[in-house]
């Protein structure tokens, strides 16, 4: 059996190590490094892609439901807006701030902010409606300084600058690959017209011709959201490049 023992050290080594400890203590007591950010009065500098509070731009939203589908915590629910389109709402009681929704948003309608300190009075309030996500939330700013962590070869330093960070980042929208829905096997179409009902932009239309329903996709109106592709019962619709 291997026994764990105290490492053998000579008296000289012990004295050297004690002296090193005392030297470190003296150095730190005179010129201490610190890792503390005095939060309400100072704010740590967050990166631009910080996963914080979500903002929403309805003009860019194509109502593809991708955010709601991808959300692992099931925090995003789509709600119908007065203009008959579906927009996301976020329940921050469930949200785990993984920001899959931001990554999956093809139009760049959901975007992140550097806000990480949000307070609610009750659980019901945590369900953030679409209207509340459009406008910037009200923030009481007490911070006068911006703190940046700098790690050199061995130590961590705090760099303090007298400036106020903007919490709302302008993210360049992702390069959009224009996609369009296309029927690859029109012969297998049942004519159930689910795709027509699903389509938010009214790109899919149906004509009854000799008691046979024929579907048509308007390539100009199609936003490439892929809802019809998901819902097609025969799975004959595909998203292709425009």
């Amino acid at each position: 059996m291997k026994k764990v023992t105290v490492p053998e050290q000579s008296l000289g080594e012990k004295v050297v190590k004690h002296a090193a400890a005392i030297r470190v203590a003296m150095k730190e007591s005179v010129y201490p490094l610190t890792a503390t950010v005095f939060y309400p009065r100072e704010r740590k500098k967050m990166p631009d892609n910080f996963r914080g509070y979500l903002m929403f731009d309805p003009d860019k939203c194509i109502s593809c439901w991708e955010c709601a589908f991808v959300c692992p915590a099931n925090a995003i629910q789509m709600k119908e807006a007065p203009n008959k389109r579906y927009y996301p709402t976020v329940d921050y009681g469930k949200c785990i701030f993984c920001h899959f929704c931001v990554d999956s948003c093809s139009g760049g309608a959901l975007k992140t902010t550097k806000i990480h300190d949000v307070a609610y009075k009750d659980m019901g309030e945590m369900l953030t409606l679409t209207e509340e996500m459009i406008e910037e939330p009200e923030i009481i700013r007490e911070d006068k300084k911006l703190v940046e962590y700098e790690i050199d070869e061995q130590d961590l330093h705090l760099k303090r600058t007298r400036e106020v960070d903007t919490l709302f980042v302008e993210v360049t929208p992702p390069v959009e690959i224009p996609m369009v829905s296309q029927c690859i096997e029109p012969g297998s179409c049942l004519g159930c017209r689910i795709c027509e009902e699903m389509c938010e932009s009214g790109a899919i239309s149906s004509i009854i011709e000799r008691q046979v329903i024929k579907m048509a996709i308007d390539r100009d109106k199609c936003t490439g959201c892929g809802l019809c592709v998901k819902e097609c019962s025969m799975q004959i619709l595909r998203l292709v490049r425009k």
């Binding site: 400890a21 005392i22 470190v24 203590a25 003296m26 730190e28 007591s29 201490p32 490094l33 610190t34 890792a35 503390t36 005095f38």
Partner: protein, 366 residues
């Protein structure tokens, strides 16, 4: 009508005054006001000044307000933390203990069912006797309350009484954590006491006197340079005696939840909390006298006798700060390690120190 001058002469406080040239002119004007001359003469009477102001009650009281703050702030800085901060944050939380003591004052003192009630409530106050008595014999410069050629021995004897009161605290608590802490305290007491006494004894042999003022005057070369082994032994013993970090065996916050005083709350806990700082102050004062030349130092112009007081306080604070810093760089020893250090390394060191002192005394260095 009593003649004040007769009273002052009658009490024998005329010739034994703290002289401060800077404010002497102001003091000379004051006797115009009745009774003030008696009052001022009484306050500046050296024994009274020593007992009441420095190094006695007032200085201790003010320093006690700042010791925990100094310790916490310094340890915080060394460990990359901030320490006390939110109370008066622009001064770095300097009145933290004032706020804490206010809280202690208004908190309920819970005496639990199993405790031995009279002792449980008496001991926090009784413990002040060994903590405050040595201050009567410690001189700041040439100001001392009671002058006796056996002062060092008396200080030692009173300091050695201290753990008995801690044992009393733990015993009266009648709880298992307090009991374990008490027994550990008793073990450590025996471990440090013998080397501690031998180290001090060595210094008394070296100086050939045990009058603290005489010892301070004899140190043309500081004791720490003459006999560094004794200084090291004394310092480690002081760390053990005040339950500083490497030897915080009796209190052991993490395992015993404060050891002998686990059951105390409210102002009783507040009193015990400052006790170890008082003990540290007394031991640091003793170390200043024995090894750092007492109140000797360059004369500060215009301050007269107060110059020695300032040097004494400065040296004491440096010793205390060194004691406080130990907390940041050392983990805690186990009980058996602490005992083996006390009975092994430190006893040998103290004997070496004793031999060195005798040799130096024979050569006639002092």
């Amino acid at each position: 009508m009593i003649d004040i001058n007769t009273v002052i002469t009658g009490l024998g406080i005329e010739g034994n005054q703290v002289s401060v040239p800077l404010i002497q002119q102001m003091l000379d004007l004051l006797p115009e006001i009745p009774m003030i001359k008696l009052l001022i003469s009484f306050i500046l009477w050296k024994p009274f000044f020593a007992a009441l102001i420095c190094p006695g009650f007032a200085t201790l009281g003010i320093l006690l307000l700042f010791f925990p703050w100094i310790e916490r702030k310094l340890c915080g800085r060394i460990q990359w933390r901030v320490g006390p901060h939110e109370i008066v944050w622009w001064l770095g939380g300097i009145i933290q203990l004032l706020a804490d003591s206010l809280r202690f004052l208004f908190q309920e003192v819970i005496v639990h069912k199993d405790a031995h009630r009279p002792y449980f409530l008496q001991f926090p106050f009784l413990t002040f006797i060994p903590a405050l008595l040595p201050l009567l014999f410690i001189p700041a410069g040439n100001i001392v309350a009671i002058e006796t050629p056996y002062a060092i021995q008396i200080i030692l004897a009173v300091i050695c009484l201290f753990p008995l009161f801690i044992l009393g605290l733990g015993w009266a608590s009648n709880s298992r954590f307090a009991f374990i802490g008490t027994v550990r305290e008793a073990f450590m007491y025996f471990a440090y006491e013998v080397p501690f006494i031998i180290a001090v004894l060595g210094m008394i042999i070296l100086y050939g006197t045990s009058d603290p003022v005489g010892i301070a005057n004899k140190q043309s070369i500081w004791g720490i340079i003459l006999n560094p082994v004794a200084a090291l032994t004394f310092f480690i013993a002081a760390a053990m005696a005040t339950s500083r970090m490497p030897f915080e065996i009796a209190e052991a916050d993490q395992e015993l939840a404060a050891g002998p005083h686990v059951e105390y709350s409210g102002i009783a806990f507040g009193l015990i909390y400052v006790l170890c700082y008082e003990k540290a102050y007394v031991l640091a004062g003793l170390m200043t006298i024995l090894f750092l030349g007492g109140g000797s130092g360059p004369e500060i112009a215009g301050l007269g006798d107060l110059s020695g007081v300032i040097w004494f306080l400065l040296k004491t604070l440096i010793v205390l700060t060194t004691l406080f810093v130990l907390r940041t760089i050392y983990p805690r020893y186990r009980l058996d390690q602490g005992l083996s250090i006390g009975w092994g390394a430190m006893l040998s060191l103290s004997l070496i120190a004793l031999a060195l002192s005798i040799a130096l005394a024979q050569v006639g260095v002092i």
